[in-house]
Symmetry: none
Subunit: 401 residues, 2 copies
């Protein structure tokens, strides 16, 4: 599938705007979902003039994390192309991951005198205390053998470790024993090529232990989720696009960067994101425009807040996005985050594609899960979206004669 | 796909009830199918509060036998995982097939003095006469070389032969020449490892011929459809379920046993099946509940009888199944058996999933083929059903971070 589209894609001047409302879909409460029960005159009018559908982020029934969900929206197979935990964590704090880097999610932890982990999270040490400790570790440990060591603080006990150097491997085990009361694990290589990386990781842990020995709580570190940045052919290579990303959260900027998007400085509100889009309107033929807020409301199980945000989005954003007159305007989500479930879910996500070449259903159609389920685009996989957007942008040659 | 779901499945206390109405779907007569023209207030009410869809048992256009149709419902790929004819025949008479057994469908046949098959079905000898002959064969032939030989009577000329012993193979040919007037075939091995099995099969046929020589009609046997029980990872292994089967017919109990279900003693009526479900309600997190009757009416081409049974099911079963308050209730079929066709068909099968997390369509929706075709679940493959049921049971971890 990917190969076919790549062989057909060509460059033209038409522009595509992909608006991703993170956590868009929901589940009914008293018969209606968050979307269905919101007052959204603008989105509903747009829906009546667009092609609608639903998308399974990965497979029917599978609930995705943000990584696979976005990878699929960008036109990649999220099952084949797995972005490891360590890389996602590094992207999440805005770290500029490079090919060959091995990234870890790391924990500050408490170890007792017998060498057993007493608390895998160092009593959830506050960020104000953990960040200086990470800076101290970075100051003391800059290099092990021929490998650069990068330490970056995160939230509370969490931080990120990156090993940068030639010939590193992520085929190594974690040091986290996963249960308090057990000694940390030695980092072991899964194959011969990973021997040196495992040795360096163990040496890093040992030196952190030395450095933190006098700390009351955070006197040790655990390394988790080792992951190498996978090789990913860029969207430019695959789809002949010149893509840009507008996102307030580092994780999404990081994912966009993985597929070769230019990351625009977009601030951290809808207003600043919209301003960035207006400012750069003519510089790219593809924009990924990410809005985080709905997902947070869903994660918090806050049905009313999600509704409120949808109505606000409808009022403040939709007509202004339309006014930019992109040739193709797509509004969808990366995954559903129903307030009723308080987290990501497997439910397929509403999809709206507006262009001069869509098949609008007209009438009093609304932009809701069930209206989209009756939509002309049917229910498909998110990874198929890019092909549809390129088609609507007239960016795909005819297949065969 | 299978691998992905397996890697995400985990155990919790939520319970799933999968109700399989064998041969559920139909084809319109005077504009309405059996389902669409039945008076089913309970099923229609449930449908209005559930997610609906259609399922292709195997592929669009492919009519399945009961074996592949159920294998797919249980979450396995029915094209990859083929259960051979011999094994299905053995399961159909309630024989307890074990790994390594080679099973045959066998025929009592008539052979003439020149050694040609005169009647491949021994004039469809009545069961009352054929069963004692099978018992006689079993009494005389208990072992060939180091292999146990098991002979079990079936209906009329049909019976089952099982070879049980180490190192047997099903890579052997049938002895059935497929046309009257030709000599029976020698059983030949398809590869070197099957040499011994072929020899034993030929010896079995020879001894049966000796034993039956004096019979007027059934003086010979033909061996057909040799099949080894395939290795099948259980539903427990794959989906972390503790599954149980309630089915009145041996074939379906046999298929359920293949995937590791516990077979509950369920009698042979709806009432006894329902009583078994009520009795064991708390012992399992997954129940496969099979109702055979619709299929028989369809096979007989009896549209009215199928309608009558649907109305009876609606009245006698639906509310009592609902009253058991499973977290996930699914009602579907293994395949369609339209009365108009008098047999299994390729038509996709109506699907209903009820849980706290479904997307009901509300209104005056009915549980019929065309209403399901407009359903939010779309039209998918039966093998995807298990993923959806696990999802609705919150039994799948998030994929990726």
């Amino acid at each position: 599938m990917g190969d076919l589209v790549e062989s057909l894609a060509f460059k033209n001047n038409r522009q595509i705007l992909l608006v991703v409302l993170d956590g868009l879909g929901g589940v009914p409460r008293n018969g209606k979902t968050e979307l269905e029960s919101s007052w959204m005159p603008n989105l509903n009018r747009l829906a009546a003039n667009s092609s609608l559908g639903l998308m399974h982020p990965v497979e029917p029934g599978v609930t995705p994390g943000s990584g696979p969900a976005h990878i699929a929206l960008f036109g990649y197979d999220p099952v084949e192309l797995r972005v490891g935990r360590g890389v996602l964590e590094a992207l999440g704090i805005g770290f500029d991951v490079r090919p060959g880097d091995v990234c870890f999610r790391a924990n500050l932890a408490t170890i007792d005198s017998a060498g057993r982990v007493r608390d895998r999270r160092a009593a959830r040490i506050p960020t104000a205390q953990s960040a200086p400790l990470c800076e101290r570790l970075q100051a003391k440990i800059r290099r092990i053998e021929d490998v650069e060591v990068i330490v970056r603080p995160g939230i509370e006990h969490r931080f990120v470790v990156v090993l940068r150097g030639p010939g590193l491997s992520d085929a190594i085990c974690e040091s986290d024993p996963l249960h308090d009361g057990e000694p940390p694990l030695e980092v072991k290589p899964a194959d011969i090529d990973a021997t040196r990386t495992a040795r360096i990781a163990n040496e890093f842990i040992r030196r952190c232990g030395e450095e933190l020995a006098a700390e009351p709580q955070a006197n040790y570190v655990l390394l988790r989720g080792p992951a190498l940045l996978p090789h990913i052919p860029s969207m430019a290579e695959r789809f002949r696009l010149n893509p840009a990303c507008i996102a307030a959260y580092p994780m999404y900027r990081g994912l966009a960067k993985l597929v070769g998007m230019r990351i625009l400085d977009a601030g951290d509100t809808w207003e600043t994101e919209l301003a960035a889009l207006q400012r750069h309107r003519d510089e790219h033929d593809f924009f990924f425009f990410h809005i985080k807020d709905l997902d947070k409301a869903g994660e918090n199980g806050d049905f009313e807040r999600k509704q409120e945000l949808l109505e606000q989005l409808d009022e403040e954003l939709v007509t202004r996005l339309e006014a930019l007159k992109f040739d193709v305007l797509c509004i969808t989500g990366d995954h559903s985050t129903p307030a009723l479930l308080g987290g990501h879910s497997w439910h397929p996500v509403p999809l709206l594609i507006h262009s001069s070449y869509c098949w609008p259903q007209g009438g009093a159609l609304e932009f809701g899960e069930r209206a989209c389920g009756r939509g002309i685009l049917g229910t498909r996989r998110s990874r198929e979206l890019m092909t549809l957007l390129l088609a609507h942008g007239l960016k795909l040659k005819k297949f065969g004669a």
